[in-house]
Symmetry: C2
Subunit: 309 residues, 2 copies
Amino acid sequence: MNITVKQLRAFVAVAKTQSFTEACAAVHLSQPALSIAIKNLEEEIGGNLLVRTTRTLSLSPEGEAFLPTAQRLLADWDNALEEVHNRFALRRGKVAIAAMPSFALNQLPLAMLRYREKYPQINVTVHDVLAEDVVEMVRNGRVEVGVSFDPGESEDLLFEPLFQDRLVAVLPVEHPLLQHDSISWRQLLEGDFIALQRPSNLRLLIEQQLEEQGISLAVEFETHQLATIGRMAATGLGVGAVPSLCIRQMREMGAHCRTLVEPEISRQVGVITRRRYPLSMAAQAMVQVLRDMSLQELIAREGQAVGVV
Amino acid sequence: MNITVKQLRAFVAVAKTQSFTEACAAVHLSQPALSIAIKNLEEEIGGNLLVRTTRTLSLSPEGEAFLPTAQRLLADWDNALEEVHNRFALRRGKVAIAAMPSFALNQLPLAMLRYREKYPQINVTVHDVLAEDVVEMVRNGRVEVGVSFDPGESEDLLFEPLFQDRLVAVLPVEHPLLQHDSISWRQLLEGDFIALQRPSNLRLLIEQQLEEQGISLAVEFETHQLATIGRMAATGLGVGAVPSLCIRQMREMGAHCRTLVEPEISRQVGVITRRRYPLSMAAQAMVQVLRDMSLQELIAREGQAVGVV
DNA sequence: CGATCTTACGGGATTCGTAAACATA
DNA sequence: TATGTTTACGAATCCCGTAAGATCG
């Protein structure tokens, strides 16, 4: 039994108009073609759905019973196909993204805005989690897209760099070092240093890089949030070092930033996706929006605006 | 957007087997044909549902989202078409029939039995109503089939005779007239006559026919049910006249019947259907069962068995 | 006789299968 | 290299539209 959608459409059209001739227009068919379509449908179904003389046309009891079913089938059919079509046309769908806190807080909102403007019908879920958790969420499929540090070569992950995130110095207002455009770590560490707590990825990075330069890190305060570093620095408790992503945030809290060198510590931040799992169109569009934002320049500009070169 | 059922079946088959090659069997297609079917589907839908290299095959996120929908569409499709197909094959469906009480009580049960044996899956609704109401129920479409007296020429009804229903005399056991094989109305009316009440169609028929013969009808008792006539006659209250349909019923109540002549009063009993409204297959089958029962002979035999020739 | 559905038939598009090319593990 | 998918192409099928035929009111 091989019935086609066209045949069903033909039947419904004829049933609704009560006329072959009128139904022709609805199905874009000549009347003989329509006649044959109905005939074939009836043959495959095993009986007459329509009772027709040359002058009258009516539904058989079976046709009467089948009409609502046929209409439902066609409606379902069209809805389902439009749904999947819309998904491809980015007029519908959903995407989940995970981003590390510094990015989620500072750059992501703008990205979300751009995305929403472009694809208003797509539902976006944002997960603001620690950098390591971003990687994990991508790996196990909880999100399609992650923004975090380069997780390194991996069998099941892809990394596409978006920008280089340097560490910058955070200083209280009127701190003498603010007179310089750039500050060395040695200079910075003359003040009381406010660091992230130990399990932090960033903290480990700093310690490692400084050690290579033979600089020892004396930590005065420890916190587990970058925002706290800003707050503490702003109140004059000491100095710190944060990702350049956070420059604006620091400024808003009343702490100022400066370029930090000797050594220049930086990490690649980029998009993490699963290898061998194709991205949904919605996710691809999300990645494209992130690319198009030219984050490297954006962050540089933000830095310059507050005195970081 | 013109997507075919075949294409959807192809997609589901490939998605389930995770292989073009294996899916070929399921859709009875060569592998290149299947490949093209999928390709066309994807083109019309506007994106890739399957992500394929020569060695691996997986669903795109959109394909993943669409697969359950596609499966549901196909299941609905097949169910609906099998349903209507079954209806034509008399493996499903329903039919409503109305019959006048004398027929409903006496012959219809056997007809129903035959019908059920032949078409066990078809749901039958029986309406046991007055002869005139049978006609009305057919006319307004409440039932497809009616069994009643000939309603006469009618614009919107068809009548197909099943048998001739004669009036027979009903007498108490040991009534002297029982010695005769047939009784005339004049003889019968020498006893106290038990008649149906006035609005009855049958009562009118009797009065009219007797009047033509110059016989006046003196009624001693009136009732509105044929069964009551039998009961009253059985208890010796008087004599009556009932349709031959009821012979067996009368006998069961203890009254005996005899052929009634001078005049011989009879009416055609048959199947009433709506003109210009095709019968459902289930209803056609019902009419056929009624025809096949050879009711004329059946009733004659029943009559002979209890002494009515 | 006129309106409407059905049948007949030729042309065109679609779709199929075989065979060859292509791509990945 | 071997397996599995896609492309190429000739052939068959299916489907459509025009024209003629049939039927009912």
